[in-house]
């Protein structure tokens, strides 16, 4: 998957979790948590959805790498290469 495709998937998953999420003014390098009102339960939902779609396991220690949109993409890019 390209970086753009990964980004689309992430935004789609987040939109499913939070219907009111507004991506228009999203800063890709600032924490998602602050901008979209995501809490730790929402991050868990993202992790579970990634596992369901791509059999991807994100260990708890690595959750901090999902902090911003850019860091998410950096983290997922090598893992989603074959998709």
């Amino acid at each position: 998957m390209s970086r753009d495709e990964i980004k689309d998937v992430l935004l789609e998953i987040i939109a499913d979790i939070d219907e009111e999420a507004d991506f228009a003014s999203l800063d890709a390098d600032a924490p998602l948590r602050d901008q979209l009102d995501l809490d730790s339960m929402d991050f868990l939902d993202i992790v579970m959805e990634l596992r369901k779609r791509y059999k991807l396991q994100v260990p708890e220690e690595e959750y901090p790498q999902l902090a911003t949109l850019t860091s998410c993409i950096d983290y997922l890019e090598p893992k989603l290469q074959k998709f």
Partner: protein, 469 residues
């Protein structure tokens, strides 16, 4: 409600959930949504665990529907759907009445700021700093600071303020001033977010909707099915033994108490010695007593508030609150708005904290006498808010730690799981025995309706990771 008879369930599932408290129900729902086959086994004839209701004298009484934080709105919408979310409504009239102060509040941050500054004369800057501190608390903070120390830092010598801040939380989860302050901060901030909420339609409606959702997702549900053992083969979870049958599953999620799970369902001998060493330090929280009053049809009572925190004790004391003859109790008033779908009904539930040990050893006669004395004390206190209430009530029932133990099997009838140290034990079960998980009230922060549901989601994620691993 009709569920699947035990002799008709399959012999193998991806996951078996033992117990249908809110944690077990939610975990089952999430696992089914993720595509796993799930069997839910419940020992009682009714689902919901402590999210219980019962019918007596034509009334419906709710056991644990006194109030939960606003966070339930988001949690229910995400994990149970909009129909459940849409029934969550605010309880606006929360009353405190004790020898130190009497006041009415929405139990929200704005209102508490107003009360702390106006009524208690606390410097606005101190109030601000206190809220900033508790709002910012999280699981990874220093766990040595106690709530007592936290209060002493911000409100030294102000036992009235300590009472305002602590009494509701002691009722909500059995905690004392000696727990880690983070457990206080997390739970208190949850409530302060927007006040206290309830489920319109009653506990029976909520659990009914949850059961419908589970069945729609293909979860098999058996009630009256007490699991005797969780089967472990070669250090891995293999299934459960229930009523003489062995059912296989790669993952078993126990919603029984974490102490029951290790001591009775699995057996301490299955775990490594150092794990059992840590486990032996786990303390369970206190249990509860309740007295239920039903008002005769045709009679009504005035609106004196939704939730009354009442006490005749001079100061806040969690020990006093657990005594058999405590003068501290909450009254939850259920007006016809609680169940708009039914004919108008007024019920009142008095709730007290209680220690199992005080009640467990009583012989039949002493037990009956103690219950009658408790009912009398509750009537006397209630009459202060509702004069003449004795003449209006046609149904009275009571529950003690023995009752809670009988229905949930929980160690010492605990109402709120374990103290903080239980959380780590619950979280690390699957590291000891592959495929073994616990969900349900632990660690203070994972108790209550919101805590139990959220924990169900967290554990479902672990189980899903295991099953797909």
């Amino acid at each position: 409600m009709q569920y699947t008879p035990l002799d008709q369930v399959r012999s193998r599932y991806d996951a078996i959930v033992v117990g249908s408290g809110l944690g077990g129900l939610t975990c089952a729902n999430r696992l089914a949504a993720a595509g796993h086959s799930v069997l839910l086994l419940e020992h009682h004839i009714q689902l919901g665990g402590l999210a219980a209701w019962f019918k007596r004298g034509g009334h419906i009484f709710d056991v644990s529907l006194h109030g939960f934080p606003y966070g339930m709105v988001k949690t229910c919408k995400k994990y149970w759907g909009k129909a459940i979310r849409d029934s969550i409504v605010q309880l606006k009239n929360i009353v405190f009445d004790n020898p130190q102060f009497s006041l009415r509040t929405t139990f929200s941050k704005e209102d508490f700021i107003r009360i702390l500054q106006g009524r208690f004369g606390i410097d606005p800057e101190v109030v601000d700093k206190f809220f900033a501190t508790v709002d910012g608390m999280n699981f990874y903070d220093d766990q040595r600071l106690t709530t007592r120390e936290l209060f002493a830092r911000f409100f030294p010598g102000r036992s009235d303020v300590h009472r305002l801040l602590m009494e509701p939380i002691t009722y909500a989860n059995g905690s004392t001033l000696d727990e880690p302050a983070i457990t206080y901060g997390i739970v208190f901030s949850n409530f302060m977010n927007r006040g206290v909420y309830t489920f319109e339609g009653g506990t029976d409606k909520l659990i009914g909707l949850m059961a419908d959702e589970l069945r729609a997702k293909g979860v098999d549900i058996c009630t009256g099915a007490k699991v005797d053992r969780i089967l472990v083969e070669k250090g891995m979870t293999a299934g459960v033994a229930v009523k003489g049958r062995e059912l296989k599953a790669r993952a078993v999620v126990s919603n029984a108490g974490v102490t029951n799970t290790i001591d009775q369902l699995v057996g301490q001998d299955r775990f490594a010695a150092d794990f059992i060493g840590r486990f032996s330090k786990v303390r369970v929280n206190n249990s509860s007593c309740q007295v239920y009053f039903g008002v005769r049809p045709g009679e009504s009572i005035p609106d004196v508030g939704d939730l009354l925190f009442t006490s005749t004790a001079v100061e806040f004391s969690s020990e006093e609150m657990r005594r058999m003859d405590t003068g501290s109790r909450t009254f939850s008033l259920y007006y016809p708005k609680t169940r708009p779908q039914r004919p108008p009904d007024y019920t009142i539930v008095a709730s007290m904290n209680a220690d199992y040990g005080d009640w467990a050893g009583l012989d039949q006669e002493a037990y009956r006498t103690a219950k009658e004395a408790m009912v009398d004390r509750c009537f006397a206190d209630l009459s202060r808010y509702l004069p003449g209430i004795r003449a209006k009530v046609d149904t009275v029932e009571s529950a003690t730690p023995r009752t809670f133990h009988r229905y949930t099997l929980h160690t010492k009838g605990t109402s709120f799981g374990t103290k903080f140290e239980g959380l780590d034990i619950s979280r690390s079960l699957h590291k000891e025995i592959g495929g073994l998980f616990h969900v349900g009230s632990v660690g203070i922060i994972m108790s209550g309706w919101l805590g139990a549901i959220n924990y169900g989601v967290i554990v479902a994620n672990d189980v899903d990771g295991y099953l797909r691993g």
